[in-house]
């Protein structure tokens, strides 16, 4: 688990660095999605909400298929107390970042926390299953650790806040 919880959600809306662009490419390539998809840099919590309230795309199913495959290799306990403490920390980080932008919507904050939690769960599962550092769940997790909220593929672009 990332040891710098204050970094989560700390870079929302800022310009993408070269390293982040590489992470996105590695993530998409690992999932078997078109790696050269252009990035859509989301600039606000409102835009992130509008986008993610649209229908879910095939990228989600691709991630879920990979999650199911990994669950055949390893199990992680969702009710583990240490893990749940981590999810609380992620909720706190989302709430702080939202408050800095004047956002107090508990649903949107929980959605952000849920996205981070899901990514952390996927990362935990990939590690437990012995996946290499280049695994797409590791790459997505790295984007979260760097303060981003990867939102997924919408149309022909990969959206990231």
């Amino acid at each position: 688990m990332n040891t710098h919880p204050e970094a989560w959600f700390s870079a929302l809306g800022t310009p993408l660095g070269e390293g982040e662009a590489d992470e996105i490419r590695a993530y998409l390539e690992g999932l078997g999605v078109e790696a050269a998809l252009p990035a859509l840099l989301v600039g606000s919590w409102g835009q992130a909400e509008t986008l993610t309230r649209g229908p879910v795309g095939g990228w989600w199913d691709t991630e879920e298929a990979e999650r199911t495959r990994l669950e055949r290799l390893a199990r992680v306990d969702p009710a583990d107390a240490e893990w749940l403490a981590t999810t609380e920390m992620l909720h706190g980080a989302a709430a702080i970042a939202a408050a800095r932008s004047g956002i107090a919507d508990p649903g949107l904050i929980r959605a952000a926390a849920g996205a981070a939690t899901y990514a952390a769960h996927q990362h935990r599962l990939a590690r437990a299953a012995g996946m290499p550092p280049g695994h797409p769940f590791m790459r997505k997790y790295a984007l979260f650790c760097g303060g981003r909220w990867p939102l997924g593929v919408y149309g022909d672009r990969f959206a990231i806040f």
């Binding site: 909400e49 993610t52 309230r53 649209g54 229908p55 879910v56 989600w60 879920e64 969702p78 009710a79 107390a81 749940l84 999810t87 609380e88 909720h91 508990p106 649903g107 929980r110 959605a111 952000a112 926390a113 849920g114 996205a115 939690t117 899901y118 939102l151 997924g152």
Partner: protein, 234 residues
């Protein structure tokens, strides 16, 4: 009935009558098990039914909160020496409300709308519990339970905007509601009498059920949905 004195710590708990200790342990086990079942059979599986990334992630967070409720109640139970196997869903038959086979997003939203309201009433009854650690967990848990019920209301409100959606939500209400009145336990329950004797709970099962049915009627009316007949729930 005079209020039973506050019991502030697990150490003080050990000095209470056997009957008091047994009663507290039953409540702790019940909540620990119910929170775990709810997360396992409804919240976590519902992620796949959610139609948007927003709803999926929000459901994921709600599932984690339900798991956390389990851990909080289990933590209290551990402190007073309840064996872990009593809180393992493999060893205890679930309440009937968890036997509903979840198959759609509409059903899940109705479960949050109606079952989490029932859970709110149960937790409300512990807000002045004589066992202070349990009271404190109830107070910590309450805001999240309220959010979960609001989650159900918000998504049901969205779904009923179309006639097809409203029909699916009403159908889910018709099929799930009959499970719920039993959630409050039998009238004239001896366990409930003990809980009230020791100021662990405040109300009779039948009074809570009546209050719940009134609140459900008000809630469904506000959404323009019909409340199924009580005969269906018998």
């Amino acid at each position: 009935m005079a209020a039973y004195p506050e019991v502030k710590t697990a150490e003080e708990f050990g000095k209470q009558p056997e009957e008091y200790q047994t009663a507290v342990k039953k409540i702790l086990v019940s909540h620990a098990i119910n929170e775990l079942y709810g997360a396992q059979v409804f919240d976590e599986p519902a992620i796949k039914f959610a139609p948007t990334p927003y709803a999926k992630w929000l459901t994921c967070r709600v599932a984690m909160e339900e798991y956390h409720h389990h851990v909080r109640f289990k933590g209290l139970a551990d402190e007073v020496g309840v064996p872990a196997e009593r809180m393992d869903t493999k060893n205890k038959k679930p309440l009937n409300i968890f036997e509903f086979p979840l198959k759609s997003w509409e059903e899940f939203c109705v479960i949050k709308l109606l079952a989490d309201l029932a859970e709110i009433l149960q937790v409300e009854d512990l807000l002045h519990c004589s066992y202070v650690p349990l009271r404190n967990v109830a107070r910590t848990t309450m805001p999240e339970e309220k959010f979960h019920a609001q989650f159900g209301r918000d998504f049901c409100t969205e779904l009923i905007k179309t006639p097809e959606g409203k029909s699916r939500v009403q159908d889910a209400v018709n099929r799930y509601f009959p499970y719920l009145p039993h959630f409050f336990g039998a009238a004239n329950s001896t366990n409930n009498a003990l809980y009230r004797k020791y100021s662990l709970k405040q109300r009779k099962n039948e009074d809570m059920r009546a209050d719940y049915l009134n609140r459900v009627k008000e809630l469904l009316d506000s959404l323009g949905l019909d409340m199924p007949s009580l005969e269906a729930a018998a």
